[in-house]
Symmetry: D2
Subunit: 306 residues, 4 copies
């Protein structure tokens, strides 16, 4: 037979699990989208269709919902660890489990004091800003946890320049000393934690700090190029978070073009601000890995498919 | 000729205009998506292709960007009024203009005191919750302003029942005394203001108050049906906002099914909360108009295409 | 109480029903997305939450699946008629039913003769072109059937001009005698058929003919404006289909800008064709109703939300 | 400084280029979405913001449009080769270029003989089935070409079983001897061609053959598991295409649940076919690499982000 099987994985994707916990009349909510991918002794099922080594994806789905009840959802990362350990340790043919999770944040809806006293707090509004990400991989020996976020849209209305670049016969772009810099942040960061013997990071605290430093590095960097801003974002996360060894960033340069209003007798370049056309496509796409000195790069290069 | 022309309109849709204003080193941002639709003496262009009465959609686009500079964007509604008045009063063949606007909210990124002192405030993060909507229609005599929002996702984890409903041969649903009630609010509300002689509402204040009451009515209504909750949402907006005459709501019933965990020896119905499967499709879709007594219903019934 | 209830409707939306029929080893497939909206005596449920007049949306879902088995799916329109009649005639509080259907077309996958002989034909590939639409409304007396399609993307690479238009202080567009004309057709057409006493149109034949004439009118009209092309599309459907009384079209003008390649020493205007930038936003949006002489316009003006 | 720079790349993404060529009054169309990613001596721009080694993404965009005119678009792969070679050979700091392309297929609109004779053929309708993919990577020495497709939705209405699988305490799925098997194919295949000295494959012919064999392997495999079907799809491409060394497939198991209609007195399991509920989420996700014997796996494992 002239073909052979390479890397393969399977599981149930996008299990939408919502967990409510009740402290009296005060409720809490966790809202996840969980995808499981298992690998192992799977040569047979690909060759002959024998499912003897295949735990059905339906079973992985059931396990996700059952574990949400059994262990609760302290954090997406912790929940992923429970699941990955279970699949690898309970089924011999499964050698590796990867659990990917999206998390959607909710805020409480402010209600009247009277209503809160009488009925408690159990009303939520989706925050709607970034989507939080977590990925847990386990092969029976070593853990890899990569957290992240996507769709965090940010904009600096000044303190961004772009000049001194290479020019060739296809270059028409003019240099600029003041432009809008806008992007939608996709980020992944890998933790140094790899083993059950080590102290586990506080995933919730780490996430809040990482997001805050991504935002502040974006805002506080006087930018000569989006690459420079991106590097500062990754480096700042590592500098302020000893638990993080590697950061991968994918930043579209969401172009805001200053509109030429001269044909209409209007000066769009005055000191009181300007009007911009926010373009969709094409856009610049800037991507890099930033590493703690001496650490290895393990996050794949392409976080999006473009 | 056996055919005739009915209602028609044309214009440039989805002009993505971003307006930055500067107060020293403190910047402000308005971020809109503006769609213009014009109607009038357009028989000829449909019949013969004569464009003598057609202001190009490219011109309507230019006008949107020029007006953002010329008049600023105090509010989406005010901006729409400037545009609609211009098209109807400046071009004789144009008898009616409708301007639809989506608005995206931005928050400031918190930066260090030192950075703020030295460099000012000009960094923003997209809030990402609901999208604000505004629609202004003008026919040269009468104004109609309809504001709204979409994609405001809310959830009550208790205080919702559903029972006592009609049953027929296709009914298998069980009655329930405690369920999750979740929806994604699409709302439009029409203002009583119709003329230049009347005092114009404060559009920004009105929007904030309306959103707040939609949220609170959702949270504070003990619900026997989503229709009842919906009616309270619309009625509360009218009761607390004398500027609003009509509210149209479209509420998908985003089903959260309590998962049966008994096969796994788990009780998912206990006092400390439960685990739910958040379903995508199908979903209930509940829609209604709520009117101030004596007012006419003018908002079209279908806000979505389903 | 100072508020009153206006138009309202409810039901289960987006029931994804797939019906396989078997003629021996030859299978056939119908793939629909069905949304039901019911209206009637619903004051109570909105005011007090009493569900005594409410047939659960879950029941409407069950009915959709049961009817797909019971009556089959000869056509989307016919299936909608079965459903609408059932809801209005079987439940007294329901006075009006509207069934909206999307249909996805499938082609057979070509297999070997041997396989076809031995195993039959039961493999399909989604065609993926336009989505077919059908809407059936019944109030116990009168039927309204509106069919349609969306996402039918078409392009003429010549035979389109645009000049002689109105100019004002915001006009910068240059006239053109040769441009690309591209759009994505959204269309609805209403049938004259309104009653059980009349002969019912052949819905499948009518759909094929209508789509064919929309395409041919787009292709064969030498265009001086998109409005002219649009009118011909609607008129041609009516001229060739005696069963159709009204057509509503919504056509984005999907701009293809001829790229200026002069800075690179290239002539992009030569006789052998040109290179275009296909823009996303903004776009022109051109909409109209075309009517058979003497018929009333009943299809709402806005088929999209822009 | 405690951080270091890892893999990085940048360029202009999603350049929407449409190329019309004219043979007299017969026109041809190529419709691409082109994304460029460049890597090389980029330490400085990340560290200090110096753009001395940075060819602007705006220039990469201009080059895409200029090359579409200069070289035409014989195939997406050939076009990508022109672009990648240019960036690597013309700019010393650029060491590697990767060009990713989506291609959208168009069919001719059938027009009358008279129209065709008089006006020619220049009207197109988007085919709308799968999106074709091509990726070309060049580092100055070696070429890697990976072609592919996405969103090819297929369904077998019988000849699929699933049984004999692993069971644990979370398994509730029943075994089945006859089910619907449906998926939406995402595929990438890598060519053996790596160098200018070798004869280049005929990219257009190869694409057509590969798609045909993916479809036929799906249709003609009697399936005991989706893994088995997937393996046959990849193996068949390699068996029938000597130019292909590696295939990566990502197949969601798009569940079609046979609806229980017994509560309504209907037998949904009869010989004349059944009614199914087509579910959205969750879904199985089955992925594998299939290799020509002795070849190395180079396509990354995750084609989607789930």
């Amino acid at each position: 037979m002239p073909t052979m099987l390479g890397q393969n994985q399977y599981g149930k994707a996008e299990n939408r699990v919502v967990r409510i916990t009740r402290e009296g009349s005060t409720h809490h909510i966790k809202d996840l989208n969980v995808s499981v991918a298992l690998s192992g002794d799977m040569e047979d099922v690909h060759r002959s269709g024998s499912n003897a080594n295949v735990l059905p994806t339906d079973t992985t789905k059931n396990t996700v919902f059952a574990f949400a009840k059994k262990y609760g959802i302290e954090s997406a990362e912790r929940f992923g660890i429970h699941l990955a350990r279970h699949f690898v340790t309970s089924q011999e043919p499964v050698h590796r489990a990867r659990v990917r999770i999206e998390e959607y944040a909710w805020d409480r809806i402010a209600t009247s004091d009277a209503h809160r006293r009488e009925r408690g707090e159990h009303s939520f509004v989706r925050r709607g800003q970034e989507t939080r990400l977590a990925q847990v991989t386990y092969d029976g020996e070593r853990w890899e946890v990569v957290s992240g976020l996507k769709d965090l849209t940010v904009l600096n209305s000044t303190d961004s320049e772009f000049h001194g670049f290479l020019k060739d016969g296809y270059t028409t772009l003019e240099e600029t000393r003041d432009r809008v810099l806008a992007t939608s942040v996709t980020a992944r960061w890998r933790f140094g934690w790899t083993g059950d013997g080590q102290a586990m990071p506080d995933w919730e605290t780490s996430y809040g700090r990482t997001k805050r430093h991504l935002l502040r590095a974006f805002a506080e960097t006087y930018s000569l190029s989006l690459q420079q801003t991106m590097y500062r974002m990754g480096a700042r996360v590592i500098e302020h978070g000893e638990e993080v060894d590697e950061v991968r960033l994918s930043l579209p340069n969401s172009h805001h073009f200053q509109v030429d209003l001269e044909p209409f007798g209007l000066d769009n370049d005055s000191a009181d601000g300007a009007v911009y056309f926010a373009a969709d496509r094409p856009y610049g796409l800037i991507e890099a890995t930033i590493l703690r000195d001496g650490c290895e790069a393990l996050i794949p290069a392409d976080l999006t498919n473009l």
